[in-house]
């Protein structure tokens, strides 16, 4: 598939570009992991310099970049000074967490958005449509921070749901099924926050897409021919409304990952978010770069999938 190959190549170029620019930018940063150490009067300058030399921080830029690339190729992604281990394993530990969270949120959000959007589109102009629009707008205006904090507080207050994290302490000893349910219970709050953030935008777009199709001449003609509503919906309208929705999926990925970062931190979910924050606070640049590259890869991969899906759905579109 020539198109797929082209898009893949383009994605790889993009990744390379991001890696180069972020490495360069990191290099401009004043200070590094050992800056705090320098301030400590108990540590001499010579010690700090020796430490830096040992970790190769004093080598010229191209050498360090090449070393970093080599490290990436080996799957190590550089060395985390804060954790005293290679960055790669740390990332591999956390990426599944983010994927699980965002995956569940996406699934749930779309599962809810499509019926809601269709329902609204069918009733556009009525009071129920207006009420839904208004309440969705209000949800959109509630910051994630507020939502998460309130839900967490409620969870602890009522005891219905765990107050953050991914596993209850001691859950390793539980049977697989119990562990699964435990994880599920921990997923509720973060997924709820993410879904409530995504839903308004999704419903709006589904509603708009479906409404446009419903108003199109071909749909009206089909109705005039007596084609039953349900069949019209599933066989004709949904496929036509699919394209803009796939595009929307691509666009919303970046927002989703960003929201996930925040929610993971708020709720204590072990994903890329909390790791990122720790790395920033510790000025562990290798780890920061590692997380940046990971999130970029996730986003680019997601966009690639969306583009390919779009191409499958409608090859006409991809002429640029």
């Amino acid at each position: 598939m020539k198109y797929a190959a082209r898009r893949l190549l383009h994605s790889l170029f993009l990744l390379a570009g991001v890696s180069l620019l972020s490495f360069l930018f990191a290099d401009l940063a004043p200070g590094d992991f050992f800056s705090e150490m320098r301030l400590d009067p108990g540590v001499t300058s010579a010690t700090v310099d020796a430490l830096r030399a040992r970790h190769g921080l004093d080598r010229p830029l191209p050498v360090r970049y090449a070393a970093w690339l080599g490290s990436m190729a080996r799957g190590e992604f550089g060395y985390s000074l804060a954790y005293n281990t290679a960055v790669g394993p740390l990332l591999r530990q956390r990426i599944p967490g983010t994927l699980l969270l965002t995956g569940c949120a996406t699934l749930l959000a779309w599962l809810m958005a499509i019926p809601l959007g269709i329902w609204n589109a069918a009733r556009r102009g009525t009071w129920s449509d207006s009420i839904t629009k208004a309440s969705l707008s209000i949800f959109l205006s509630i910051p994630d921070i507020l939502l998460a904090v309130i839900l967490l507080a409620l969870a602890v207050e009522t005891g219905w749901l765990p107050a953050g994290g991914m596993h209850a302490p001691g859950s390793e000893s539980l049977a697989a099924e119990d562990r699964f349910r435990d994880t599920l219970r921990h997923l509720v709050i973060p997924v709820a926050v993410l879904v409530l953030g995504m839903l308004p935008v999704l419903v709006r777009h589904v509603r708009a897409s479906v409404a446009e199709c419903l108003d199109s001449p071909f749909a009206l003609a089909a109705r005039a021919h007596g084609i039953p509503r349900r069949r019209l919906l599933f066989r004709h309208i949904l496929p036509a409304a699919l394209n803009p929705l796939i595009t929307l999926f691509g666009f919303s990925l970046g927002t989703l990952l960003s929201a996930s970062l925040l929610v993971e931190v708020l709720v204590g979910w072990p994903g890329l978010g909390p790791l990122f924050l720790e790395a920033i606070m510790a000025r562990d640049f290798a780890l920061v770069l590692g997380v940046v590259m990971s999130s970029t890869t996730l986003l680019i991969a997601g966009n690639l999938i969306a583009d390919l899906l779009l191409y499958r759905a409608d090859p006409r579109i991809q002429t640029s």
């Binding site: 940063a29 509630i142 910051p143 970062l261 920033i280 970029t296």
Partner: protein, 343 residues
């Protein structure tokens, strides 16, 4: 009609924030160590003897034990005066008026929300202005000049869009000094948030410029010997205003949230300057929250503001482009390329 209401609503909110130094009863750093975590004041109009008093008032506060619940002390009555100590309203010492309660240091939350709004709102506004300016510049260059400039800018833009927005923001923040003064933090935040967001406005402006270039009246002006500068100034740029305006209503709330998020995470404006973000960070601890729900006030304050901008954006997006009934791309017979690129 809806537009005027929304604009008026937003104007009021902005005015309250801008005039914080006057509207707020207390300065943001003013502490009342005797009253940590005091609950929101209950304003009364009828006193113990059920007489209706024209001036609203509050009772004094006492704690049964340090750290315990507060009670109203009905023996002390403090009327709310207007134009007190150079501010719109307040109560005379030793009374305290905590409309939305106080925080751990006895600082009035209502006042701090107003002052904090200045930081968050201003960051949003200035950063949005920065993004739009950069976007206008780059979009015009790319759209008008075309060729390698266009290619470079668009490819560069792709790099910015390759990261999820918050990761990009935090990534840039990561490589800048961590411990900075609130003033430095403000400028830093504005610079980062504003610079990082140039791409979407640039693309939209580029689109407008590209289609405007081919408009009949632009070609006619060229036929009269118009310079590119004239064409941009007189014909093309005016077409970008509406795009920029709608982008502004979308970006401002987003950037306000960016400041709140960064400050909440400790990477933005810090003590003692309040920002809605760092105030929410205080509210985060569970025990604080349940016992002192009013600490969430800064979060609640964002809701009407964001809702206002959201509604405004919706209204603007639904309008057809005003006063431009001519069809978008109407070419004279056969397209007239701007500076023939073939042959």
């Amino acid at each position: 009609m809806k537009l005027s209401l929304t604009l008026a609503f937003l104007a009021v909110l902005h005015a309250l924030v801008v005039l914080a130094a006057w509207v707020a009863p207390y300065h943001y750093a003013e502490q009342h160590r005797d009253y940590p975590f005091a609950p929101p004041a209950r304003v009364h109009f009828t006193d113990a003897a059920h007489r209706f008093l024209l001036r609203p008032f509050v009772y004094g506060l006492t704690q049964d034990s340090p750290g315990g619940d507060y009670r109203e002390d009905r023996s002390r009555l403090y009327p709310i005066d207007f134009f007190v100590r150079g501010r719109l309203f307040g109560v005379g010492a030793p009374g305290v008026l905590f409309l939305w309660g106080s925080d751990g240091y006895g600082r009035d939350v209502f006042s701090r929300v107003l002052y904090g709004g200045q930081v968050s709102l201003l960051t949003g506004l200035v950063a949005a202005f920065l993004s739009l300016s950069l976007g206008l510049l780059c979009g015009t260059l790319a759209g008008f000049h075309g060729g390698w400039v266009d290619g470079l800018l668009m490819r560069g833009g792709e790099l910015f869009l390759a990261l999820p927005w918050l990761y990009l923001l935090l990534g840039v923040r990561a490589f800048l000094p961590l411990h900075i003064s609130p003033a430095q933090a403000f400028f830093l935040l504005v610079a980062i948030i504003g610079t990082v967001g140039w791409v979407r406005p640039a693309r939209m402006v580029r689109g407008v410029v590209l289609s405007a270039r081919e408009r009949g009246f632009v070609l006619a002006a060229r036929g009269f010997g118009a310079s590119p500068g004239y064409l941009m100034r007189r014909h093309i740029l005016p077409l970008t205003w509406s795009v920029l305006l709608t982008q502004a209503t979308v970006l401002i709330p987003r950037y306000i949230l960016a400041e709140v998020t960064l400050s909440f995470l400790g990477l933005g404006v810090g003590e003692p300057v309040p920002s809605w973000g760092n105030m929410l960070a205080e509210a985060r601890q569970y025990h604080t929250l349940m016992a002192h729900a009013w600490m969430l006030a800064p979060g609640l304050a964002t809701i009407p503001l964001l809702l206002g901008y959201l509604t405004l954006a919706d209204i603007l997006l639904e309008r057809p482009s005003s006063a431009d009934p001519a069809p978008p791309i109407e070419r004279p017979s056969g397209a007239l390329p701007l500076g023939s690129r073939e042959g």
